[in-house]
């Protein structure tokens, strides 16, 4: 597989999660209200898994602007708190590719595969 250029995202901010909550309609307060996250035993609010998958989808479009996505599958592996700096890396061979989102210490947050036409 050929490695794809790594995409470095700006450190995650709480407002990013507020905007994603409103846009997606997923208002689970674990993503926006620190007190609710603390009650759940988390040190801070956490990103929606689907927010990271949204980033991953845009990364694929950036890597392959003239191809059409036909299949996209991910596994959510770890929680992401604000302040995290995330990196999107990938590799592809023909119509198939793999994608990983990890943080600056290498913890994998999302791992997935995709097919393009």
């Amino acid at each position: 597989m050929n490695e794809l250029p790594v995409i470095r995202k700006q450190p995650l901010k709480p407002i990013d999660l507020v905007k994603y909550s409103g846009a997606s309609g997923d208002f689970n307060e674990i993503h926006t209200v620190p007190g609710v996250a603390h009650e759940k035993g988390l040190k801070d609010i956490i990103a929606h898994g689907m927010f990271l998958m949204g980033w991953a989808g845009e990364a694929i479009a950036e890597w392959f602007p003239d191809r059409k996505l036909s299949r996209f599958k991910v596994r959510f592996q770890a929680v992401t708190h604000p302040g995290s700096e995330l990196f999107i890396s990938g590799a592809a061979d023909g119509n198939k590719g793999e994608i990983i989102i990890s943080d600056s210490v290498g913890e994998v947050k999302l791992r997935g595969s995709f097919e393009i036409q």
Binding site: K9, D16, K19, Y20, G22, A23, S24, G25, D26, F27, N28, K40, G41, G49, M50, F51, M53, G54, W55, G57, E58, I60, A61, K68, L69, S70, R71, F72, K73, V74, R75, F76
Partner: protein, 149 residues
């Protein structure tokens, strides 16, 4: 591991009109600057018939629906406070466009109990106003028993 037969659980979402403004808001929220989401002329230049929906837009159809994802949870008996999203898969059959009216139906394909967790495998099929299947969505939700927290 116990598998409980639950194949009869079917949930119909309400018909959902995909609006241009909602696509723009969603695209901005995921940090996209791709002009096809913001400019219909650019989308058409790229071979689309209107502004397309981003790959994970189905979330909007599920959560902003008149009969939404939380009502589905209620029907399955899932407590949204104890649910984790484990896996997500999309099979793109046709592009979803602004102006399309989407009808989605979710089916609980499998419910597996494993230690203190229950795994729900859901499959949702989205059809457009022409009754064409446009998208297949498979998700795995994990419900943790309250006692384990």
């Amino acid at each position: 591991m116990t598998e409980i037969s639950n194949h009869e659980i079917i949930f119909d979402y309400s018909p959902f009109l995909i609006e241009e403004g909602k696509i723009r808001e969603f695209a901005k929220a995921i940090g996209s600057t791709n002009p096809i989401y913001f400019d219909a002329g650019m989308a058409i230049e790229k071979g689309h018939r209107a502004i397309p929906a981003p790959p994970t837009f189905a979330t909007v159809i599920d959560f902003w629906n008149e009969r939404d994802f939380y009502q589905l949870f209620q029907q399955i008996g899932l407590d949204p406070n104890h649910v984790l999203h484990g896996e997500q898969e999309y099979e793109y059959v046709q592009t979803l466009y602004a102006g399309d009216v989407i009808c989605a139906q979710a089916i609980v394909k499998e419910r597996i109990e494993k230690k203190s967790m229950t795994f729900f495998k859901l499959e949702t099929i989205y059809k457009n106003q022409r009754e064409d299947i446009v998208l297949v969505n498979r998700s795995t939700l994990i419900e943790r028993a309250a006692a384990s927290e």
